[in-house]
């Protein structure tokens, strides 16, 4: 077995780039260490905590459970890119208002999971919100304020829609 580096061409947050990576490098470590996109957090490296959640060709995935080399030709979006686009602004403000974060370690993954939930189900009830973020651990808030923030965002959304 040789530790040769493999070519990797991909788009991250709208920017195309070419890199050389070791096959064992996870997508999460690639984003953090090569691209310095440190909003993608690394907790368990087993798929359990959700801190590393990113979008891969539009769908949320665990960046710790993919090797960077697998992302050849893919479009990856991280919390940095999704924030910049303004897509998360309402959720982020609701998290702020509701104290839905303390240390913030879970927050990027939580926001991506919540945004994905709202994309598929624009007006989830509290149980559906809990199910939607069930793959993301928060060790600070006790989840209640996160559920409040997501609920508030979608009731804001429906108000707008009915105006």
């Amino acid at each position: 077995m040789s530790d040769i580096n493999y070519e990797l061409n991909l788009t991250v947050n709208g920017e195309r780039g070419s890199f050389r990576v070791s096959p064992r490098l996870s997508l999460a470590d690639f984003l953090r260490e090569e691209l310095h996109l440190t909003g993608t957090h690394v907790g368990c490296e087993q798929g359990a905590c959700g801190a590393c959640t990113v979008r891969y060709n539009g769908d949320q995935v665990r960046a710790c459970l993919m090797y960077a080399v697998q992302a050849e030709g893919a479009e990856v979006e991280t919390i940095e890119g999704i924030t910049e686009s303004g897509e998360l602004a309402a959720l982020q403000e609701a998290f702020h208002r509701n104290n839905a974060l303390q240390c913030g370690f879970c927050t990027p993954g939580m926001l991506i999971a919540a945004a994905d939930l709202l994309k598929h189900n624009p007006s989830p009830d509290r149980d559906q919100i809990r199910a939607g973020i069930s793959g993301n651990y928060c060790r600070c808030t006790g989840y209640h304020s996160i559920v409040d923030a997501v609920a508030e965002t979608c009731s804001g959304g429906t108000k707008e829609a009915t105006q």
Binding site: M1, S2, D3, I4, Y6, S22, P23, R24, S26, D29, E45, Q46, G47, G50, T53, Y56, D59, Q60, V61, R62, C64, L65, M66, Y67, V69, Q70, E72, A113, D116, L117, R130, A131, G132, S134, G135, N136
Partner: protein, 299 residues
């Protein structure tokens, strides 16, 4: 932890995959969704020297009705199965079970074939395959073979797959008129592996040409009760199923099935749940699923 080193290959055809598996044997591992393999590599419980990435092999993903069978490509993601209209129509059991598998981010990557190949005793797809009487299709340089689900799951993470073989697809019998399907599981938290789970298939009423003559016949037949999380592989509860055969689905027959369960299952304890608790939970679960089905059916 981080994965050990490995060589990575991204074959573009089934032929290339089979060549690579023939060449490297058990030194190589297929990576599909990576949702079971990568955690085990990160924990250093697996250290294949070559990873064969099948994510770009044409023809391995997708769901298609082929006569009386629904063909599910090995690379079909859990999330695809959860929202496929074909699956909802022709394999409603799979549509019901899909949301119980892990979380959305994992369902977006994890595959049907990967789950069947992993054969976790608490996993949903193997139990559904057993309950439905699925056929698992394997390919290697030596040719193809088809193994019924009954013979496929051999133990904890043990299946009939040889190191040089790939699951290409799984076929499940397409749902027919008069068939009932039920699914439920008990877990500590939404998305966790089940403590115990149950997939049910049964026919209600007469079959074929007799149907018109015996329209009021509401008796059960072809009952299959596939439990998971209770033994090394998913298991069919034969005595409980026999207690339902030929009877209407009502409080009495459900009770009889629950009583018969003790002869079928001697659940194993795991790190968190004692054998006694699991025994109790299998009874509760059987009652819940059957009562829900009797409600669905009379509605």
């Amino acid at each position: 932890m981080k994965s050990p080193q490995f060589d990575y290959v991204r074959p573009g055809s089934l032929d290339q995959v089979l060549d690579l598996l023939a060449e490297h044997g058990d030194e190589a591992q297929v990576i599909a969704g990576g949702q079971s393999l990568v955690p085990t590599m990160n924990m250093r419980l697996a250290a294949p020297s070559v990873l064969v990435d099948v994510n770009h092999v044409p023809g391995l993903a997708g769901v298609e009705l082929c006569g009386k069978w629904l063909r599910i490509g090995a690379l079909t993601r859990h999330a695809e199965i959860a929202c496929s209209p074909e699956v909802a129509r022709h394999a409603p059991l799979l549509a019901r079970a899909a949301p119980y598998i892990a979380h959305e981010a994992i369902r977006n990557r994890g595959t049907f074939g990967g789950s069947v190949a992993t054969a976790d005793p608490a996993s949903e797809w193997p139990a559904c395959c057993l309950t439905l009487g699925a056929r698992i299709h394997l390919a290697s340089r030596k040719g193809t073979r088809t193994i019924p689900a009954e013979d496929f799951f051999e133990g904890v993470y043990q299946t009939a797959i040889e190191p040089h073989e790939l699951i290409t697809h799984v076929e499940v019998p397409a749902a027919a008129d008069g068939m009932l399907y039920g699914f439920d599981e008990l877990a500590r938290r939404k998305g966790d592996y089940a403590i115990v789970g149950l997939a049910v298939q049964a026919r209600i009423g007469a079959k074929g040409p007799m149907k018109l003559l015996r329209r009021n016949d509401q008796r059960l037949s072809e009952v299959r009760l596939g439990f998971f999380g209770v033994a090394e592989t998913p298991v069919l509860a034969q005595q409980a199923a026999a207690a339902l055969e030929g009877r209407p689905l009502d409080a009495e027959s459900i009770q009889a099935a629950q009583s018969a369960l003790a002869d079928d299952l001697q659940p194993l304890s795991d790190l968190y749940t004692s054998a006694e608790a699991k025994t109790h939970m299998t009874r509760v679960l059987l009652g819940r699923v059957l009562h829900a089905l009797s409600g669905d059916h009379s509605a």
